[in-house]
């Protein structure tokens, strides 16, 4: 089986976001960027499946500006075989990303496409499902466990009420939850080796996909701040405050 894994470059999950004063977005200059965390889980799962002898090749792909390539390089360092970078500048919506991925799937013909369930920047949670729709493939979203069978996957999904298990025929799209696995760190020798692995660069405009946003971002603002609270001295005071001041118990 061949696995395509999609990764996205986002502001690092530890960074405290700052909103630009002109309301046009958030500050990204000189801010630490990383791979979207659940995308790391997607790469890890693909590598584990390959290590188990059930996959033959892993191709890591990203869609974004020049520096987005770093995320593909990181995937190569933990075990992906080669990379694809579809270059596009500016805001690109999940619908356009899924159309780009569709073009790449048509060309690469993977059996599985993995990616994180949601990107932690725009919090859209759309791309995997959209790609599945465009390809008319089954989708297994929010996966916390994947069992590879002959020509299908049994996937345990995290849902609001608990867990759900579905079986999807291959080819399929899987979007990965953070609990799917524990992503490994790349070792220094593997980071060096990854530098020699090929990354194919493609311009989004050459794929014939319209990447113009359909959603206008009118403004971005800071959320209302909570008023500062107080520290209470002990449990007794806490209960009195909740009872008599906040009146919530």
């Amino acid at each position: 089986m061949k696995i395509l894994v999609a990764v996205k470059r986002v502001i690092d999950y530890n960074v405290q976001i700052r909103v630009k004063e002109d309301g046009s977005g958030v500050v990204t200059d000189n801010v630490k960027m990383s791979t979207n965390p659940p995308d790391d889980n997607a790469v890890e799962e693909a590598v584990k499946i390959k290590e188990a002898g059930k996959a033959t090749e892993i191709v890591a792909i990203t869609v974004g500006e020049e520096k987005a390539q770093e995320t593909v390089r990181k995937a190569l360092a933990v075990g992906a075989d080669r990379g694809i970078h579809v270059k596009v500048d500016g805001i690109i919506e999940p619908l356009a990303v899924s159309k780009i991925l569709q073009k790449i799937v048509d060309k690469e013909k993977p059996d599985l496409v993995f990616m994180g369930k949601q990107a932690i920047d725009d919090d859209c949670n759309q791309t995997g499902q959209m790609l599945a729709a465009l390809l008319n493939w089954p989708q297994a979203t929010f996966a916390s466990k994947i069992e590879v069978k002959e020509r299908s996957l049994e996937v345990t999904r995290e849902v609001d009420e608990g867990l759900e298990t579905i079986e999807v025929n291959v080819p399929a799209i899987v979007t990965c939850d953070l609990r799917l696995n524990e992503p490994r760190y790349a070792s220094l020798p593997n980071i060096m080796k990854a530098k020699k692995k090929p990354i194919e660069q493609i311009n989004a405009s050459d794929l014939g996909v319209d990447t113009n946003p359909r959603i206008e971002q009118i403004k971005v603002e800071e959320p209302p701040k909570r008023k500062a609270g107080i520290k209470v001295a002990n449990v007794e005071e806490l209960v009195q405050k909740l009872k008599n001041e906040a009146k919530v118990i």
């Binding site: 909103v19 619908l95 499902q129 959209m130 599945a132 849902v159 298990t165 399929a172 009118i218 009872k243």
Partner: protein, 317 residues
């Protein structure tokens, strides 16, 4: 302009968040129709027809919808989509799984997880785990929108009498099979709609210690939440996770115990009306959002808290 809302239900009962989504959807346009896709789901269709905000219920009843499979739901929705300007559902795991599949087939760029309807094409939505709010305008002719249920009050469940019309099923997918669903049954209020939530984090140190949380939750008739760290460590099951990649809760009272307050956890609870933090690390970020902070060892504080609650004559339930 008409809005089509996709109901979430289990063929017997309407899921509570459907009522919140109905309220939000009727703010987009008054001409609101609700689509009930299910099997033996007459009770569900009837319940929804009694919501005053609903003008019409469309029921598609077929055994292929006995279990919720996004692929099957999608083809059924697409068959109805021509008549509507907006297709809407809740931004929980039900709607998150479903709506993008619908949107892609309609060639629409979906607006996810809105917290406010500004106009029929303009919405407010949180980004970056709620650390920024974006006002966005959809320029697609047909709009697909998911709604953060906790940001809207539920619509009233009685007083209306909308007509129920039946519609035909669509083709069944052959490539996805439902295997099983493991729902955690509990007598407690649902996490998403509970008035009080008591949550534990990594500081609880073990699943066994969550008993301390349970005792307080019992006393307050509260739901139990958890940070991702506690779920990852196996202290408690995933359906309890509050945060950016878990559930968003807006209770009257949120008590965070042994939770440091990572950005990702705050994303799921910082809109709560009153927040209490109990943590032995006085510098923990959770204190920056807490109305009442108690710097203390939770293993001493929780039993004391319980005994203080026991002293009260009355406790709101």
């Amino acid at each position: 302009m008409s809005v089509l809302l996709i109901a979430e239900h289990n063929n017997k009962e309407v899921k509570p968040f459907t009522y919140n989504a109905i309220n939000a959807a009727s703010q987009i346009d008054q001409d609101l129709h609700v689509l009930v896709i299910g099997y033996n789901s007459d009770e569900v269709a009837k319940s929804i027809s009694q919501v005053p905000n609903v003008k019409k219920v469309i029921q598609i009843d077929n055994e292929i919808y006995a279990n919720y499979i996004a692929e099957n739901y999608t083809t059924a929705i697409i068959k109805q989509a021509d008549n509507y300007s907006h297709i809407v559902c809740s931004a929980n795991t039900f709607g998150k799984n479903l709506m993008p599949r619908v949107a892609a087939l309609l060639d629409t760029s979906q607006v996810s997880d809105i917290i406010k309807v500004i106009s029929s094409d303009t919405f407010l939505r949180p980004i970056y785990a709620g650390n920024a709010f974006a006002t966005v305008k959809s320029n697609d002719p047909k709009k697909c929108v998911t709604i953060r249920p906790t940001s809207f009050d539920p619509a009233p469940s009685t007083g209306g009498s909308a007509e129920i019309v039946k519609a035909d099923a669509a083709d069944k997918t052959e490539t996805t099979q439902f295997v099983k669903r493991e729902e955690i049954k509990s007598d407690r209020p649902e996490l998403g709609t509970a008035r009080v939530v008591v949550s534990g984090g990594r500081g609880m140190q073990s699943g066994e210690n969550f008993k301390l949380i349970q005792q307080v939750a019992d006393k307050l008739n509260a739901a139990i939440g958890a940070s991702r760290a506690a779920v990852d460590a196996g202290y408690i099951t995933n359906d309890h996770q509050v945060g950016q990649t878990g559930k968003v809760v807006v209770p009257d009272l949120y008590i965070a115990v042994g939770i440091s307050g990572a950005i990702q956890h705050l994303a799921g609870m910082k809109e709560s009306k009153v927040i209490v933090a109990i943590n032995k690390d006085g510098e923990a970020p959770i204190f920056s959002v807490a109305d009442y902070g108690l710097e203390a060892d939770l293993f001493e504080a929780l039993p004391q808290f319980l005994s203080e609650l026991n002293k009260l004559n009355t406790i709101q339930k």
